[in-house]
């Protein structure tokens, strides 16, 4: 391979760690979330991406599946836990495990389907065989080849696993922080999506690849109600939303640790989006404070740092009010590409007909073909491409100053820093502060 002449020849000669130190000092110098200044290059630098894969994803609890995807013993789905290929499987003992999908002998993927049900995973390479609990139970020609092989030491490596109201999270084995600590104040808000009723996914996730850096959609769902009146300006003319300033009414909340949520309440005294029967259920499952907020919700977008987002959306559809809840992972597969996995969550007890209606409302408005989301991906792809093209112009920064200096509310029932009016960028600032703290290795809670 012909090597292009490096623009900074000395840099190539530095040992890896010194290059790394240089990158970290550059980030320290350039990235100022609290002041709302973010350099363009963080969305397209392969070096920044490498550092994220080392310091962000292995240091966070990451969603891998919903419990309703694997209800029976032996049920599994294959997923990514950050960069790691994993099998999320309910063992024959009923316990959910997250197993590294890497054979202990030569590293072959032991499970190559998206989902299924199995008692064991048989590696296609040399035939090592693992029970659905991860235990190694078979080594071909064991006596002839190894004499004795300590199978007990060669089970599939297990990642940490914990769950929150149906959401299965995993983490790298070394992570000390518990899921509870990691989610912190965000649990109060997550409850609005997953604890309001027993929730179930409608089926496997839609998956599609988008040439976007992973931070753009994550930040958008955490923080950005401001794009709605413009990006989605076609909605009022189609009769789906009442008007374009609809998006600003509500609360903008940084729940700690970079987790952000925007709760849209619509105009004052507008009717609730929820059917009466569900409201009764919600009231039972939530605290009175949570219920008082959920009752008024018209939409709620959120990101659990780093790349898990949620949305409650409602609109007038075919003359009827209709809502849906979606959950998605913005799975990075490179510095400029994500694979989106997007599920629909429904209340388990609602009639099949209502589930179908909800699912259709989702498909028409969000997801791979959704009339709103189509325009979002167009934006994120173009921002990613532009940031790549200005990579060598270090002075190009993006502005995240909206709402700087505004005072948070002091009377909101939920935790975190809460601002009235959803046109605000405090959540994006908090997201990038958390991101920066992890990259620099400074740790600590992000607070803006």
């Amino acid at each position: 391979m012909v090597k292009a002449e490096a623009p900074f020849p000395n840099r190539e000669k530095l040992p890896v760690n010194d290059r790394r130190a240089q990158l970290i000092s550059r980030l320290r110098q350039d990235v100022h979330p609290a002041e709302g200044q973010i350099p363009a290059y963080i969305f397209s630098s392969p070096e920044v991406y490498e550092l994220e894969m080392e310091r962000i994803f292995p240091c966070c609890w990451l969603l891998v599946a919903h419990e309703s995807e694997i209800p029976e013993p032996g049920d599994y789905v294959t997923r990514s836990l950050g960069p790691y290929p994993v099998i999320v499987v309910r063992g024959e003992d009923g316990k959910i495990r997250i197993l590294l999908n890497v054979c202990r002998h030569r590293g072959m993927r032991v499970c190559r389907a998206d989902s299924g049900n199995t008692a064991d995973f048989l590696c296609s390479y040399h035939g090592f065989n693992y029970k659905n609990t991860g235990e190694l139970i078979g080594v071909p020609f064991e006596k002839d080849s190894y004499g004795a092989f300590d199978k007990s030491q060669h089970g599939l490596l297990a990642m940490k696993v914990d769950s929150y109201h149906g959401l299965i999270f995993g983490a790298a084995p070394g992570l000390e922080e518990s899921l509870d600590q990691f989610l912190g104040g965000m649990k109060w808000y997550l409850d609005l999506y997953v604890k309001r009723a027993e929730m179930t996914v409608t089926g496997p996730p839609q998956r599609w690849a988008v040439q976007s850096n992973w931070k753009l959609p994550s930040e958008n769902f955490a923080s950005d109600a401001y794009h709605v009146p413009n990006t989605h300006a076609c909605m009022p003319s189609l009769g789906l939303f009442p008007n374009i300033s609809y998006a600003k009414f509500g609360y903008h909340i940084h729940a700690g640790n970079g987790h952000g949520i925007g709760i849209g309440t619509g105009v004052a005294d507008s009717p609730t989006i929820w059917p009466e029967t569900l409201l009764q259920q919600f009231e039972k499952n939530l605290s009175p404070e949570q219920f008082s907020i959920l009752k008024t919700v018209k939409n709620a977008h959120a990101t659990v740092f780093p790349n898990l987002s949620f949305l409650i959306s409602s609109m007038t559809y075919e003359g009827q009010p209709i809502y849906h809840t979606t959950m998605r992972l913005w799975q990075p597969v490179g510095y400029d590409t994500i694979e989106v996995a997007s599920w629909v969550l429904v209340e388990k007890d609602i009639p099949e007909e209502s589930k179908k209606k909800t699912q259709r409302a989702y498909i028409h408005t969000f997801g791979s073909s959704g009339m709103l989301e189509q325009d979002d991906t167009e934006n994120w792809i173009n921002v990613t491409e532009n940031s790549r093209r200005v990579l060598q112009l270090p002075g190009v920064t993006f502005n995240y100053q909206m709402g700087l200096g505004r005072k948070p509310m002091d009377s909101f029932p939920g935790p975190g820093e809460v601002y009235e009016c959803k046109f605000h960028e405090a959540n994006a600032r908090a997201f990038y502060q958390r991101w920066l703290d992890l990259l620099l290795g400074d740790g600590g809670d992000a607070s803006i």
């Binding site: 190559r112 389907a113 998206d114 989902s115 299924g116 409608t202 089926g203 496997p204 996730p205 839609q206 998956r207 599609w208 690849a209 988008v210 040439q211 413009n230 990006t231 989605h232 300006a233 076609c234 003319s237 189609l238 075919e318 694979e339 629909v344 699912q359 259709r360 498909i363 028409h364 997801g367 791979s368 073909s369 009339m371 989301e373 189509q374 325009d375 991906t377 167009e378 934006n379 792809i381």
Partner: protein, 166 residues
């Protein structure tokens, strides 16, 4: 009708439809659909041999006449950013198989498609292939599309959005 003639008519219908979609004449495309059209693109999945690889639960499209009209209307507003400027697309339709049904006015027509999509100045293009299982109904001396099941050949769609039709 002679079988050869029927096959020829169906092929011409499908080519004409592809032409309307490729040239962004979407309102005219809608005229080819029946009022009660059912238009579905279920998810494809990677499954063990013998397991169903088409999801019966979730999909990329689940449409009726009204929702398709809404989608077309949206693209025609000043804010249909996803397809403005529009992609350049080319739909190649092949392997057409026509089968009679119990209803003399309806035929089943299966076909393969290869859709090329290119945007902006990119020299890269999205290629999406698959099969369509259609039901065509004779109306007003011509054919209309009454039902379409689209089996796309990707578990992870390799295109930024489905602001396009199949």
């Amino acid at each position: 009708m002679h079988r050869f003639e029927l096959e020829r008519e169906v092929a011409e219908f499908l080519y004409r439809e592809a032409e309307l979609l490729d040239s962004n004449r979407l309102e005219q495309w809608l005229e080819l659909l029946t009022e009660d059209i059912n238009y579905e693109m279920p998810l494809r999945m990677t499954r063990e041999r013998g397991q169903p690889d088409v999801s019966s639960q979730t999909g990329h499209f689940s449409e009726d006449r009204r929702s398709l009209e809404l989608r077309v209307k949206r693209l025609g507003t000043d804010f249909g950013w996803a397809e403005n400027p529009p992609s350049r697309t080319r739909r190649f339709i092949s392997n057409i198989r026509v089968e009679n049904t119990a209803d003399a006015n309806e035929v089943k027509a299966d076909s393969y498609f290869l859709l090329y999509r290119n945007r902006g100045s990119s020299t890269q293009a999205d290629l999406i292939s698959g099969e369509r299982q259609d039901l065509l109904r004779r109306r007003d001396g011509g054919w209309k599309l009454a039902s379409r099941l689209i089996l796309v050949d990707q578990a992870v769609l390799g295109t930024r959005n489905l602001a396009i039709f199949f």
